[in-house]
Every structure is written in structure tokens, then in C-alpha cells.
């Protein structure tokens, strides 16, 4: 049975929620990325004051960053990559590529065309991620605009409007309209914290009215912003009728609908032309001859004067003696290697848990979404697939690659399915948004990141939520950020709090390089 809340309770609840949000933002949820940070400058001369032998363990974005800077500073660098490919979670899937998911290996059968790719991992570069952008510029990686939110994309929930999809623009316009109407009703000068002048109040009312496109009586009766039901060019357009607030609130998309185009996923976002792995190839153009592939680390032994790394390649065990190690192997895999790390180091490694995530994509026989006025952006679906992404590149070409599922929370709904079951689930959930979906798409690929060979996890999880670290966790983070024995640097977004962004991984490498350069100075 539903209970109704009073206006006072609602206002209190709103206040509490907004207060918490503001606190979180002020508390620095971004962790190591203050908004004013510039691209961190690497002083190559300082980094190369004396020449060392260095092993980079793992060819992810943090490892490649370290390798690139160290090689440029004149060090002797060897990169050991366990997989057949570099890049880690920066992975673009194209024709013929192997997706080496344990228990679900696939080759991608998309058409062999430059625009027919699927960014299965990293897919967006915010304009504030200056270090990623810095390397794109330096490595000659051409960028184009990525479209995250599209008002013509869909919102679909079986519980809303009988399951009929509604345009994002119509949904959010209605949501804003109803919210503005509520604001206006509750707006009483005596209830405001500070006295407002007549003219300030007038402006505030105008803002609220415009926020929700209210009528003169401050009521929401529908808006042109939701798109026209008919007309609009040769004749005046007619509004869609307003959707009842109860309908709007019947989907869990409601709380996030206005957020998708804000903050880090707000404009301007970018993507490399031709796939996110253009960044990886940019690095490999510089350091590729230093990479050993299918080279799986077995043992890491810290010595007073360096580090011994034992690895297996092609069935042969080999040893690499180096002065320093930069290591981006996931913490949950490091715990399975022979090592002589200090006990508190191992304890901290064991604390970090592996994240889970699932993505899937199809080749589309036609770009049917363009016939629905959709060019780029994301549809929201209240089903395990969560999202459908439309490529912002390859506009009006014959075919395209459409992202058919992105479960960024757990992906567990899909994990325990066979490939055929995963594809069927993506089709069944997707055709609620696009009626002819099943006939339009083919050659599906799926990727459960926590099952990927040599990774077994998506972004690291230090906590169950985005809460700040507690004291013990702060100590563990400090332990892992400090080089073990002064020789072994752990890098990657696993030692950042704002995980799953390339920027954090790059900054973790820069932090380690800075410490390393300082040590070179002390030794000199």
C-alpha cells in the first residue's frame, strides 16, 4: 500500500538529498583529479638523470604511459604483456579480432570497414581529461566529437506507458515540467532562507517557468521541447499531450535522466577517429618494439638493488633482472603470483576487489536508428541491457555497429549465459525499443570484463559504493602507492579512486614517474 508524504516531508527529503549531493561534490569525489589540474608535465631530463633497466608489467594504458615516458628519457624498457594484445580495457573490437573471454571465446565477424568497430572498454574522453588529450595530440591520434545524450534517443520501461518507448526529449521535458510546477507551488517567500527582493523573486519565478516551460498560470501542460506530435514545418506543430507525473516516476530512469548530460559525461566528449585503441597504437608506434606478448609474469622478487621478474612465454620460463618495476597487473591477479612483497602490501592487494561489467554489440544491416531521427547518443532501457548506444561516426553509411548492452554495475545477469543466450537476451530487450531490431542486427559480440583472460575484472572496487575510504583503507592505499622496497611501483586506475577512466590510469603512472625521478635525484 502506498503512503503519501506531506509537503513538509517532501521538502525535508529534498533538502537532505541535495545537501548530501553537495557534500559529496565538495568532498572531492574525483579524488586525484582536481578541476584545476593541467596536463601534468613530465620533465624528461629529470626523469633520465641516470639510466636504469626497467620492466613494465602489463601493457594497459598506465603501463604504456610509463613505458613511453621512460623510454624517451633514455631508460632500458621491457614491457611484459600476458595477452595477445596491448591496451587492457582500452579495447576496440573489429573484423577478425579475438575476444578472449574465458569460457566464451569469440572472433568478431563484423564487416571489414574502418567505421565498423566497437569500443568494448573505454569509449569516451571528456574534454577535462587533459592528460589523455595531451597524449592524443602528442601521438597524432585524431579526435572527433562523441555524442552521449541525444534527445531523440529512447527511454523504455515495461512499467511506464505500457512499455511504449518515449523519446528522451519528451521524457525529460515532462520531468522538468512537473518539477517546475512543484517548485512554483511550493515557492513562498516566507519559506526561503534569505529574504528576496521583489525583482529577485520575479527572476526566480521566470527561471522556474522556463526550466519547465510552464504556462502563464505556472502549470505544465506539455511543451514543444518534447517534440511535435504532428506538423512543425509547413504548418504549426502540435504538442504531445503532457505525460502524467505518475507515469514519469514509474521508471528508475527518472533520477538519472537529467544527469546523463552533466558533469563528466556532459559535453564535450570525444573519441578517436577509428576506435579508442588508436591511442594504444599511438603508444605502440613509440614503444611497440619493447613489448613481449603472451608473456605471463610468474614471480616478482624484490631485491635490495632491484627486482627479479620471472615470466613464461611460449612454454619457456625466463628471467628478467631490472632496477625498477612499473606494474599495472590487476591486484587480484598479483595475489596469485609468487612474490616477496611485504605482508601489508599483500594485505592491501587482497582488499581491492575486482569490478564486473558487461558490454555487447551488433552489426546493423542498416542504420535504422537514423530513420528514427537518431544520430549518436544513448537510449535508456529498464532491463539488464540498460543502454543502447548509437555510433556518432559513419553517419549515412550503409551499416553501423550498435552497442546493444552496457551493464556497468555488475553484468551478472549476462555472465552466466551462453553466447547464444546473451544474444537472445540483447535482442529480446532491444526490440522493445526498436520494433524491427531482431531483423536489423546480426553478428553479435559480447564481453564480460570480469571473465576476460589475463584481466578477470573491470575497474577495481575499493569500496562497495563511492564513499570515501575509511582510515584502514587510506593506509592500504598509501601502502600500495608507495613503491615496494623503493623498487616496485603499482600503477593503473586500481590505485586511483576515480576508476574506469584512462585519465586516472595515466595520472597514476605520472605519480609513480615523479617519485621515481625524485629517487634518481637522491641517488645522484
Amino acid at each position: 500500500m502506498e503512503t503519501f508524504v506531506s509537503r513538509r516531508t517532501l521538502l525535508q527529503a529534498l533538502g537532505a538529498t541535495l545537501g548530501t549531493g553537495a557534500l559529496l561534490a565538495a568532498g572531492g569525489a574525483l579524488g586525484m583529479m582536481p578541476a584545476t589540474a593541467h596536463a601534468s608535465a613530465i620533465d624528461t631530463a629529470r626523469l633520465g638523470r641516470s639510466k636504469k633497466r626497467i620492466a613494465i608489467l602489463g601493457g594497459g594504458i598506465s603501463g604504456l604511459t610509463a613505458a613511453y615516458e621512460l623510454l624517451r628519457a633514455g631508460h632500458e624498457v621491457t614491457i611484459l604483456e600476458a595477452s595477445h594484445r596491448a591496451g587492457g580495457r582500452v579495447f576496440t573490437v573489429r573484423h577478425g579480432d579475438l575476444i578472449d573471454e574465458i569460457g566464451n571465446r569469440q572472433y568478431c565477424e563484423f564487416d571489414d570497414e574502418p567505421h565498423m568497430y566497437f569500443n568494448a572498454g573505454a569509449a569516451r574522453i571528456p574534454s577535462t581529461h587533459r592528460n589523455v588529450l595531451h597524449y592524443c595530440q602528442e601521438l597524432g591520434v585524431e579526435l572527433e566529437i562523441f555524442i552521449n545524450e541525444n534527445k531523440q534517443a529512447w527511454v523504455q520501461d515495461d512499467a511506464m506507458l505500457g512499455g511504449k518507448p518515449v523519446r528522451n526529449g519528451e521524457y525529460t521535458t515532462n520531468l522538468r515540467g512537473h518539477m517546475a510546477e512543484l517548485f512554483a507551488k511550493f515557492l513562498k517567500p516566507e519559506e526561503l532562507d534569505q529574504p528576496f527582493t521583489e525583482s529577485e523573486l520575479e527572476t526566480l519565478v521566470a527561471v522556474i517557468r522556463n526550466f519547465g516551460d510552464l504556462d502563464e498560470d505556472m502549470l505544465y501542460k506539455g511543451s514543444v521541447r518534447a517534440g511535435y506530435a504532428s506538423g512543425g514545418f509547413l504548418k504549426h506543430g502540435t504538442h504531445h499531450p503532457a505525460i502524467a507525473l505518475k507515469e514519469i516516476l514509474s521508471t528508475p530512469v527518472a533520477p538519472v535522466a537529467l544527469e546523463a548530460n552533466e558533469g563528466e559525461t556532459g559535453p564535450i566528449l570525444m573519441q578517436p577517429v577509428g576506435g579508442m585503441d588508436r591511442i594504444i597504437h599511438g603508444f605502440l608506434d613509440k614503444v611497440g618494439n619493447r613489448v613481449l606478448y603472451r608473456a605471463q609474469v610468474q614471480a616478482i622478487t624484490l631485491r635490495d638493488d632491484g627486482v627479479t621478474v620471472q615470466f613464461e612465454q611460449g612454454g619457456t620460463s625466463r628471467v628478467l633482472d631490472v632496477d625498477y618495476v612499473f606494474n599495472c597487473i590487476p591486484s587480484h591477479l598479483l595475489t596469485g603470483l609468487q612474490n616477496n612483497f611485504p605482508a601489508e602490501y599483500v594485505h592491501a592487494l587482497k582488499h581491492i576487489r575486482r569490478g564486473e561489467a558487461f558490454k555487447g554489440a551488433f552489426q546493423a544491416k542498416t542504420r535504422f536508428w537514423e530513420k528514427e531521427d537518431i544520430y549518436g547518443g544513448i537510449s535508456w532501457v529498464n532491463a539488464p541491457i540498460r543502454q543502447i548506444w548509437y555510433p556518432p561516426h559513419g553517419i549515412h553509411k550503409a551499416r553501423g555497429v550498435i552497442l546493444g548492452a552496457y551493464d556497468f554495475a555488475h553484468g551478472i545477469d549476462f555472465t552466466d549465459m551462453s553466447q547464444a543466450q546473451r544474444i537472445e537476451a540483447m535482442l529480446a530487450q532491444g526490440e522493445k525499443v526498436h520494433p524491427n531490431y531482431r531483423q536489423q542486427v546480426e553478428k553479435g559480440v559480447t564481453i564480460a570484463w570480469h571473465r576476460m583472460n589475463h584481466m578477470l575484472g573491470c575497474a577495481a572496487r575499493w569500496t562497495d559504493s563511492y564513499r570515501a575510504l575509511n582510515e584502514e583503507e587510506e593506509r592500504m592505499m598509501a601502502t600500495l602507492i608507495s613503491p615496494a622496497n623503493g623498487r616496485h611501483y603499482l600503477i593503473g586506475d586500481q590505485v586511483a579512486l576515480h576508476v574506469a577512466w584512462q585519465e586516472s590510469a595515466i595520472l597514476s603512472a605520472h605519480r609513480a614517474l615523479d617519485d621515481f625521478a625524485a629517487r634518481l635525484g637522491e641517488a645522484a
Partner: protein, 224 residues
């Protein structure tokens, strides 16, 4: 791609004459090759076990037991519930294995040196000793295992894994299927351990045993 083709031929050359089986034949194009030798990604270097992904130690495991468990995972007798996520992961892998692959994997695992595991489970070993009496009937007085009874060695196994499995048997996440006769027997046997503390106690007692390397009965029932 030329680079890919080069890497493939390099991998093929390296695979020659090694203990590993030849890589699976890729399709006509020079696509990345793969094989079924995934064990060490999860189970750690030389199968030493990895707490980080809850993958038990394989080094030193009896070949007959390893083969039987791979077959059980493949048949869907283990790893069937979301309450046993590590088991689910193993089942997904095992479902893809042929008899020939299982035989090769068992041989591969058999080459790994048995290394001591760290003790991570705390309990009252003295109290565990009394409880262990009924375990010893099948698993042996020193937890050395008994192939005739189908009971694997317990000595030397990752202690957190022993604890997890006792809980899995107790909850029916393992040993619930009538087709898994050994599992059913084990599920009945854990009834003597009333709660988690009792399980911790008995695991603490097992931790006192030394595994006698090499494990007895290192013969495998390889199907040709």
C-alpha cells in the same frame, strides 16, 4: 594485418616441441590463435592458488580428482548457482573442454611444483582434531586422500578454499545433484560441522598436516 600474422607464426614456432599442446587451428585468415591452457590466469603462477579471484591451488592436486572435477563442472554438477560465483566461472570454462583437452590440462597441472600455502583461516585446531575423526575415515588420518574412496587430499590445499567448500556443501551449493555421488556423500558428511566456527576449527587442524610431495597415486586415467 602483418603484425598479427607475425605474432601468430611466432606463437606457432614457440609451441613446437613444448609441453603444451599445439594451438587450436585458427580459421583460414591469420587470426589470433588460442588454446585451452587458461588455468594460470585464475589459479595463479604454476597453479599455486589465488585468493584474489577465489581460485584454489591446483599444484599437487591428484590427477584423478582434477579430472573428475573438470568433468563434473562440464556436466553441470558443480558451479550452478549465483551463490557460488567462483564455481560459475569454472563451469563456464569447463563446459568448453573436450576429453582430450581435459587430459592435456591434467598433464600440464601435474608438472607444477607443489608449494606451501599460507595459513589464513583462524580456528581452534584442538577442537578441530575431534571433528576431523569422521573426515579421516575417507580423507585419511593425515588428510592425505584416498583414491579408492574418491576422497582427495586436504593437506596442503588453500585453507580459505577448504572453508568455502565446506560452506558450499553445507548450503547445498555443491553436492546437491543426485548424479554427483561423491558430492552427495560429502554433503551428508558436513552435517557433523554445525556452524562456521566448527568448519574453521577443522580447517585449522588440517593446516597442521604437511602434504607429502609428491601426492600419492599420481596416475591419470587419460582417455586416448
Amino acid at each position: 594485418m602483418n603484425l598479427k600474422a607475425m605474432r601468430f607464426s611466432l606463437a606457432a614456432i614457440l609451441a613446437l616441441g613444448l609441453c603444451r599442446a599445439a594451438v587450436a587451428a585458427p580459421p583460414a585468415e591469420s587470426r589470433e590463435a588460442y588454446d585451452d591452457f587458461y588455468c594460470t590466469t585464475c589459479h595463479g603462477a604454476d597453479g599455486r592458488g589465488n585468493y584474489g579471484v577465489q581460485a584454489p591451488k591446483l599444484a599437487g592436486m591428484e590427477p584423478w580428482y582434477l579430472q573428475r572435477q573438470l568433468e563434473k563442472f562440464r556436466a553441470g554438477l558443480r558451479g550452478t548457482t549465483l551463490d557460488d560465483p567462483a564455481g560459475l566461472e569454472m563451469r563456464a570454462m569447463a563446459e568448453k573442454l573436450s576429453d582430450a583437452s581435459i587430459a592435456k590440462l591434467v598433464d600440464w597441472v601435474g608438472q607444477w611444483p607443489d608449494v606451501a600455502t599460507a595459513h589464513t583461516v583462524e580456528g581452534d585446531a584442538a577442537a578441530g582434531k575431534a571433528l576431523f575423526t569422521s573426515c579421516a575415515a575417507c580423507h585419511g588420518a593425515q588428510g592425505q586422500g584416498n583414491q579408492q574412496l574418491g576422497a582427495p587430499a586436504l593437506a596442503g590445499q588453500s585453507d580459505w578454499y577448504l572453508l568455502t567448500q565446506l560452506q558450499n556443501f553445507s548450503h547445498g551449493y555443491r553436492g546437491a545433484d543426485p548424479k554427483d555421488s561423491e558430492g552427495q556423500a560429502m554433503r551428508a558428511a558436513v552435517a557433523v560441522l554445525p556452524d562456521e566456527q566448527a568448519m574453521r576449527n577443522v580447517v585449522s587442524y588440517i593446516n597442521q598436516f604437511q602434504r607429502s610431495a609428491p601426492v600419492a597415486a599420481r596416475t591419470t586415467n587419460t582417455k586416448e
